[in-house]
Amino acid sequence: MSRHQQRVQEVITFFENKDVFLGFRKLLDCAMDTQNMDIYREAVELTDWKEKHPNEEETLIHRTIALLEKIGNIEVKEHHTNEYVLKATEITKSYGNHKFTLGPVSLTLKKGEVFGLVGENGNGKTTLLRILAKELAHSSGTLDYSFAVKNPTDYELRTKLVYIPQRTEKWYGSLMDNLRFVLSNYGEKPEEIELRVLMMVARLGLWNYKHLKWSELSSGYKMRFELARTLLRKPEILLLDEPLANLDVLAQQIILEDLKSIANSVNNPIALILSSQQLYEVEKISDKVIFLKNGKYNEPKPETETEKPTLILELDSNSTREELTNVFSELAIEKITFNGGIYMLYFSGETTFSDVILALGQNKIPMIYIRDISASTRRFFVN
């Protein structure tokens, strides 16, 4: 069974379990992988039907599974390359008489990989993204791109290297025209343009918003339209600066899942770097997280197998520090810090998360929230 068929099978399972919301987006991903216009047409028609008949879930599931079976029968050429698409070596950038220096940063990115770029404000996230997008010149180091088209001109390179700033520019004119204009400029076949645009609109959940004006969209949908426009360009590298800003938690999760899913396309994967303040969410989907502090990137050293890592927990509780110290006295606690709202608990390598939960439960400590951040970059923030 090919990767494509496996995915189709997963989606069928989603529908069988009535996970329609997630399933439908995954269905569209599979449909897009086929690059088959008949499938596109059916998927678009199905989206239209779905929006017009929101309460007919049974029929929808039935029709969707039928379409998925068709999709599964179409051969999808898999993208198999382990070559990097972007390789940055010892990149630095100095601003204003070396008052701020970014880097040196080195990273290697392959298609299908998602990198999260985190760090507090003013630590150089945007600068790094703009350098990688060739918007800003770097002071030293080398930047190497390896695109499908070999030896492109600088301009051609930038047609495949898309950077979306945090504040996207306003769109003028009809939203659909803006999307059609992209494909037309990229030399897509005229008869396929409309279908491809509608497919992307459907995929990003913009079906009911496609006839609105830019000014009538919420910031979340503006970001989605911007993403639609960008994805139509079939970028090889996509650099997103704070795509989650101004989005509510649910929308953040959805868009991240979408990004992950689109970046992981079977036949057209994208190398994606996104910056964000939403650590957990970004960590969840990223293959690697780059944490910038004062412009510096310290790649965490891999833990040696003999050395057990420290267990670091984040706890929100109304209990006092003394009560907590008492509770954990038997669990080899190393340190408790309190930042006014949240306790940070540091245990030696012997203690497990379950031991801590058990101790808290037995002592009836009121908990609002607890999280294991031992492997998360969150621990750098609290430090």
Partner: protein, 595 residues
């Protein structure tokens, strides 16, 4: 609306640049406006009275059409820019080839040209109306009638003096002397009132030598004898001087020196012959090219008068008044009364005169009195006027006016207007203004589209500062070093500066900030054509100066004189387009480089 959307969708999917520039719609709108202007031009002069005043081409500016034109052009260009600025593939890094980029510029050029050139359809409409309403064959017929009948329209007396006689052929070869200093009273001459006429045969002297001021020398013999010439003609490199030879007896043809219709030889109007000639360019008088006396007309009149057929003459007068009525020329003449003024079959002497204006005031046009007053003091003027006027033909003319009038000036204006409009080459005369206006505007818009507003504004500021710098340095040079060749200094200084500005983005695409290079790119886009013109100017300046040292100035090859203004304009325009086509690669490189 559905139709528009369909077309738009078709264009956006196939021709993104065409769709983005909205050229299809703007050309459709401008076609509509062109048609409207053509129709306005066509109907603007349906009333012949609109042809009564000079230079109808100027009506476009006088009547306020130009204002309507400017407002429509501004509205169209603004609306177009708003629509076009909604999308910019190049700024968004969509794949744009060099040809597409140049294509965008070409679209801007075509759009602007079509949005500012409403003058042409207006004039074309007017021209077509004139050609339809006053076709050539009708005009040939009418002018023939007018020229003949005009002989009887005695609005002046000079046309009827003996000196105007041109037929039989002998009169064409003779010189009629009216200056009493040269009259030989012992030989055949004619005197009337205080005027005297005598006919001389002439001999000519050809001169080819010139003096140091490049003027023809005066024939040596005549200079020694102190003989005045009658007239001279320059043909190629030779000047022909004409001198009085001997008095010729013309009594066979001339009985007396009375004012007579027999002497009339001046055509009222001669139709311009070819389409290439343009009456507005007439060297001597831009609006009233005076027709030369014409033996043929004189012959026609003489034969007509010899036949002395009242009906024939009446018919001519009647035809003339009919044409005048059609052209709405003001007159109170009628055929019968006019015929009575004219018809004196004994010698067809001119006995009565007609005013040439509705409210003609002879005193205000008292030309002779004005001349006298200008040359003598007041009391002498009165005496002189009295003495001269009592016995002058002018006095006779003044005292023998009827109450009839005919506006000859209006008729002439009308004929000139009709004739010149038919032959008016309005395209090659004016197209360059509109072409250059379009080129400059489209280059400016192109600059803005490929760079950004900030760069364009800084380009303006930089250009201003550089101009100031050039001015100051030139001033310092002229004050401190030499004011003699400051033109050369300034020209070469700008040449060097221009070279640097043009070179940096091409040869050093990574030097300086992106803004700095953007400014240089904008200056190159807008300044390349003036730069080429400067080079042509410098070459011309050198040639002219070198030529000054050579005696025969006319033999020199001077570039900008050799290329007339139209050719220069075409060459520069082509250069501008070719430059932009090539320069698109520099623009693309600049756009892709990081800040």
């Amino acid at each position: 609306m559905n139709f528009i959307n369909k077309i738009n969708k078709y264009l956006i999917e196939r021709f993104p640049t065409i769709w983005n520039t909205k050229i299809v719609w703007i050309l459709l709108i401008s076609l509509l406006v062109h048609i409207i202007f053509f129709l306005i031009g066509y109907v603007s002069h349906t009333n012949p009275q609109t042809l009564h005043y000079g230079y109808i081409v100027g009506d476009y500016f006088k009547s306020g059409m130009i204002l309507v034109h400017i407002i429509i052009s501004l509205l169209m260009i603004t609306g177009w820019l708003v629509a076009m600025f909604k999308n910019n593939a190049f700024k968004n890094f969509y794949p744009v080839s060099r040809t597409q980029l140049f294509g965008q510029f070409l679209c801007y050029f075509i759009i602007i040209f079509c949005s500012v050139s409403f003058y042409f359809p207006y004039i074309a409409g007017l021209k077509m109306f004139i050609s339809n309403k006053y076709p050539d064959d009708l005009m040939i017929k009418n002018v023939a009638v007018i020229n003949k009948a005009n002989a009887f329209l005695s609005t002046d007396y000079q046309s009827y003096q003996l000196s105007q006689r041109k037929y039989p052929q002998i009169f064409e070869e003779l010189h009629c002397e009216t200056n009493s200093d040269y009259i030989d009273y012992s030989k055949n001459h004619y005197a009337i009132r205080n005027e005297v006429y005598q006919f001389y045969s002439l001999y000519q002297k050809a001169v080819t030598q010139k003096n140091e001021y490049n003027e023809f020398l005066y024939p040596e013999e005549e200079q020694k004898k102190n003989i005045d010439f009658v007239s001279y003609q320059v043909r190629n490199d030779t000047c022909f001087y004409f001198y009085r030879k001997e008095v010729v007896d013309v009594s066979e043809y001339v009985k007396n020196a009375e004012l007579s219709y027999y002497n009339f030889s001046r055509p009222f109007y001669t139709l311009s012959s070819g389409t290439s000639s343009n009456r507005y360019d007439d060297y001597n008088d831009p609006y009233y090219p005076l027709p030369q006396n014409d033996a043929q007309l004189n012959q026609q009149i003489i034969k007509l008068l010899d036949r002395s057929n009242p009906e024939e003459i009446k018919q001519i007068l009647d035809d003339f008044l009919h044409i005048s009525k059609q052209l709405k020329i003001k007159t109170n003449l009628n055929t019968n009364d006019w015929f009575k003024i004219v018809y004196h079959p004994d010698n067809f002497e001119v006995k009565q005169f007609i005013y040439n204006n509705f409210n003609f005031d002879l005193n205000s046009y008292d030309a002779e009195a004005v001349v006298e007053a200008a040359t003598a003091n007041a009391s002498e003027a009165v005496i002189a006027e009295e003495a001269v006027s009592r016995n002058s033909t002018y006095y006779f003319f003044k005292n023998n006016h009827t109450n009839y009038f005919y506006e000859t000036g209006t008729l002439k204006n009308t004929l000139v207007n009709i004739d010149s409009m038919k032959n008016y080459d309005f395209i090659s005369q004016n197209i360059h203004i509109y072409l250059w206006l379009s080129f400059i505007l489209s280059a400016l818009i192109f600059s803005f589209r490929v760079t950004n507003l900030r760069t364009v504004i800084f380009t303006g500021i930089t250009t201003g500062v550089l101009s100031l710098l050039v001015g100051l340095i030139s001033l310092m040079y002229s004050l401190s070093v030499s004011s003699y060749n400051v033109e050369y200094f300034t020209s070469y200084f700008i040449l060097a500066l221009g070279f640097i500005i043009l070179s940096i983005p091409v040869f050093m695409p990574k030097s300086g900030s992106k803004l700095f290079r953007g400014i240089l790119i904008n200056m190159s886009i807008l300044g390349f054509v003036p730069y080429v013109f400067l080079i042509l100017g410098i070459i011309t300046m050198h040639q002219k100066d070198a030529c000054r040292e050579v005696y025969n100035y006319s033999d020199c090859f001077i570039l900008l004189q050799w290329l007339d203004s139209t050719t220069t304009s075409w060459i520069l325009l082509t250069t501008g387009f070719i430059f932009l086509l090539i320069y698109t690669s520099v623009i693309k490189k600049w756009r892709a480089l990081p800040e």
